[in-house]
Amino acid sequence: MTIASTLLPIDVALGAVVCWLLLGLAGLLLQNTMAITRYIFPAGALAALLLAAAALSNLGGDSNVAVLPLGLPDLPFHLRLDALSAFFLLLLGAASVGISLYSAGYFRDMEGSALGLLCFEYHIFLASMALVFMADDAYLFMVAWETMALSSYFLVTTDHHVAQTRRAGFLYLLIAHIGAIAILLSFGVMQGGQGDYTFASMRDAHLNAFWASATFLLALFGFGAKAGILPLHVWLPEAHPAAPSPISAMMSGIMLKTAIYGILRVSFDLLDTPQWWWGALALTLGLLTALYGVLFAAVQTDMKRLLAYSSIENIGIILTGIGLAIVFHSFQKEALAALALTAALYHSFNHAFMKGLLFLGTGSVLHATGERNLGKLGGLIHRMPKLALLVLVGTLALAGLPPLNGFVSEWLLLQAFLLSPGLPHSYLNMLIPIAAAALALAAALAGYVMVKFYGVIFLGQPRGSDVVGQKAFDDVHDVGIWERIGLTWLALGCILLGVFPVFFILHIDFVSQLLVGHTLGVSAAQTGWLWLTPIQPERASYSPLILFVIIIVGVLFTLYGVKKFYHGRLRRGPAWDCGYPEQTARMQDTAEGFGQPIRQIFQLFFGITREVPGPFDKKPHYHGETSDRLWEWCYLPIARLTDKISALTGKLQHGRIHAYLLYSFVTLLALLAFVR
């Protein structure tokens, strides 16, 4: 027996986790900016690579089990690495390589002791997410889950001297904990009264339909709070902008996927008999979330809030896929369930790369200009061409355009919708075309949002004439080498996932085999790696590589033709002023202006407050704000109710000892009467 043969992938994965913990500690002790950015973050990226490799090697293999003698006596930590865990560990590893490399450059100006703390929290955050994916009992799962919530809370409040950041952090922590309670309750129901909280015993519990549904609903609520499913999404647009950009990238790209993992683990693995209406519920919620998210993204003026809302949209799309998979699974249409599930998993992976890339891109913009408000940016493609190119890849991918990766998962999901006629339920048959239409609408709106995002930041002219944000336009510099490496890693991921989907789907197949007992790979491999054919080649096929090559060849051919037959003379001149006496940079659309049509059309959903200048104002002033109606409809009533109840409870509190003695006495009497 050599060491290599006894070393299971789960041990390697655990090794990577230990590496992260040690690196975090080292950062905390060193407190030296130079050492942390030069060595610790790149080493963290190496550990991430190790984790990704371990996960990849185990995707097709048997599940590994490990028991750690940690935790409480008699209650050790159980760990397990099966295909589902391995898939999400791969996502965590692969995406965090880019984010860690980027961080090595991004935090170079941060002061040492603060950076030491951040580095510690950062690596704890990574390690806890890995443990969430590997946990095989509710105990370790909840410990890791809470560690993840707490470490990310501290990361969000890195700029804790800003009141708004503290507020955002509190909101995040609050909703995370409401969610955690629901998850805990869900595990409590699922173990079926045996007192054994390992996932293995939950699989054997075989709950009846009522309790299974209760578990599913609790889990959907609990994990939904983390994922940002309507109406629990309110923390996302607050917390993501508040956090430093690599942290936002990590939270949006990876942490939201822990919730997706949880929903999948509970509904497909731990509960054995899915009901069709669970799927219909998840599908509806997912679509509402997607539409809501994208509509709000379209009217944002802060670039990171815009991306946060876009994350809500993407989580909605993933949930739609999961819902569809549950519906098919409950009707034993396993091939279709595998298709919908593949789409959801693929989109999860895509989203980690695209959104990671874009959040990091906003980080660089923020670093270079000190400005998050879209209305004060513009024209950065001239000063930051390398960043602009890399972000363009993410923008096009997130807009769901072929041949990049966002399109592949949308294509798969739409195929799943198209193949669904003939479900033995007339409501579902009516729901599904409407759902497909809503999904198409959300996808198209994402294009609108991304044009706004990219166009307002990078194109045009700087809106403050020669100033972008807080810097002179000419002083803005492009990204450094570490940032560029991190961004390039993620951008390459977007391109490769888009152009070679079949290779990746062959790996996802192990997960769908585990969860629904059917794969896409058999049909995908029939016609070779070039063709993505989910069911049969006659029904649908898509070859992104051919499309990519043809567009490139088309462009080159056109370029060649024009070069050959055209004299190629070119002059530069001022932009045409359309006969107006003056053209200034402020005449371009601001972010608000670009979102105006959406605000107009979907007025109903937005709470809009506006101050419009009158005709005789000496200093015309315009101010507009778009707020989330769900705040006033859902959260404020709850807050008011809580206030009212606390006020009533407060009346009991007089601070006089005899009153309290009386309470105890009455309680005692009541208890005695009750026991009798």
């Binding site: 513009g378 024209g379 493609i381 001239h382 355009l401 072929p402 949308e410 294509w411 195929q415 198209l418 006629p421 009516m430 599904i432 075309p433 497909a436 239409a437 198409a440 609408l441 996808a443 198209a444 294009g447 609108y448 991304m450 044009v451 166009g455 194109l459 045009g460 006659e538 029904r539 649908a540 096929s541 898509y542 070859s543 051919i546 499309l547 567009i551 088309g554 462009v555 051919f557 370029l559 024009v562 037959f565 055209y566 004299h567 070119l570 002059r571 530069r572 001022p574 932009a575 002023d577 006969g579 940079a585 005449m587 371009q588 659309d589 202006g593 670009f594 049509p597 959406i598 107009q600």
Partner: protein
């Protein structure tokens, strides 16, 4: 080998006849307006003229601005050569199905909008905003039209759709009727025709497409104009393929090609005249009404799909 050759023939055919279709539509419009018109070959003359001019770029135009005409042209060419025009024997159609076709249209739309924002003039950004406004409703409507056809033929491949619709016995699908109306509305909007946009005017507060390309000149403008012509042709041939697929040659049936070519020309002649007539009898809409128009198209398309799911026809 034959199919590859056919693909190349189609590629060459679409790129050459696209300006002709545009010229025909303009000529019909001129006749309907009691003008003599510039002749059907005018778009070719325009292209030649533009290709001979010196290009002028705005001072702060970025590389994206210069690359966009090529990307636009290539993607529209690809779109037009995907649709079975005279034969269903197209290898490319396997690589790009209808969903990907919608994706290619979206790719072109996003690039032209980004390019319009690039120079940073008020008209450019306004055009980009309006284009995306039209697009975000047109894209799902188009997708739903395709879905209706795809659920009838159990395939998203355009070739299979055409083969199913053309070579089955003649059946009238009520869902396709809804889809057809929605498609015409989408086509008007996406090709910047009246009532959504007016291809013949400049510098009006209502313009969309022309506002986006104000900064382009010479070869870049020529490529964009050509791409627009290709897009119009692509929409026409999609309409032919979905709603009147008769005459398109089957796989391996080379003898049917001349008939197919003739059928194509007749369809395009009639379709072009129909478009001109539609444009002459309707008035340009206020821009605020465009979302309603597009929303109607979207709802009609969804209705078509629903009818198919509920009635199974």
């Amino acid at each position: 080998m034959n199919s590859l050759l056919l693909q190349l023939i189609q590629d060459a055919l679409v790129v050459l006849i696209a300006p002709l279709l545009l010229g025909w539509v303009n000529q019909c419009r001129a006749w309907l307006q009691n003008r003599s018109g510039a002749g059907v070959l005018q778009p070719y003359r325009n292209l030649i003229k533009l290709f001979h001019k010196d290009a002028v770029l705005a001072n702060n135009a970025s590389p994206l601005f210069r690359a966009t005409p090529y990307i636009l042209f290539a993607s529209m060419w690809l779109a037009a050569s995907l649709v079975p025009v005279i034969a269903t024997d197209l290898p490319l159609s396997q690589a790009v199905d209808v969903i990907a076709l919608v994706g290619i249209f979206a790719l072109a739309r996003v690039f032209i909008s980004l390019a319009a924002m690039d120079v940073g003039t008020s008209f450019g950004t306004m055009g980009a905003r309006r284009e995306m406004l039209v697009g975000f409703l047109a894209e799902p409507a188009l997708l739903m039209v395709f879905f209706t056809a795809a659920t009838i033929s159990h395939s998203t491949s355009l070739v299979t759709i055409v083969e199913t619709l053309a070579h089955k016995q003649f059946v009238i699908y009520p869902s396709l009727a809804f889809a057809a109306i929605a498609f015409v509305m989408v086509m008007l909007a996406e090709n910047a025709r009246i009532p959504v946009d007016n291809p013949a005017t400049h510098l009006e507060l209502t313009m969309i497409h022309e506002a986006m390309i104000l900064e382009y000149s010479a070869r870049h403008l020529a490529l964009i104009e050509w791409a627009s012509a290709l897009k119009l042709l692509a929409y026409f041939t999609i309409a032919c393929a979905l709603f009147m697929p008769w005459g398109i040659a089957e796989v391996g049936n080379l003898a049917a090609l001349p008939v197919a070519l003739l059928a194509l020309f007749i369809k395009l002649l009639l379709g072009g005249a129909g478009l001109a007539l539609l444009e002459t009898v309707t008035a340009k809409m206020r821009i605020f009404r465009v979302p309603e128009f597009m929303g109607t198209a979207f709802l009609l398309a969804v209705l078509g799909m629903l009818i198919h799911f509920l009635l199974g026809s």
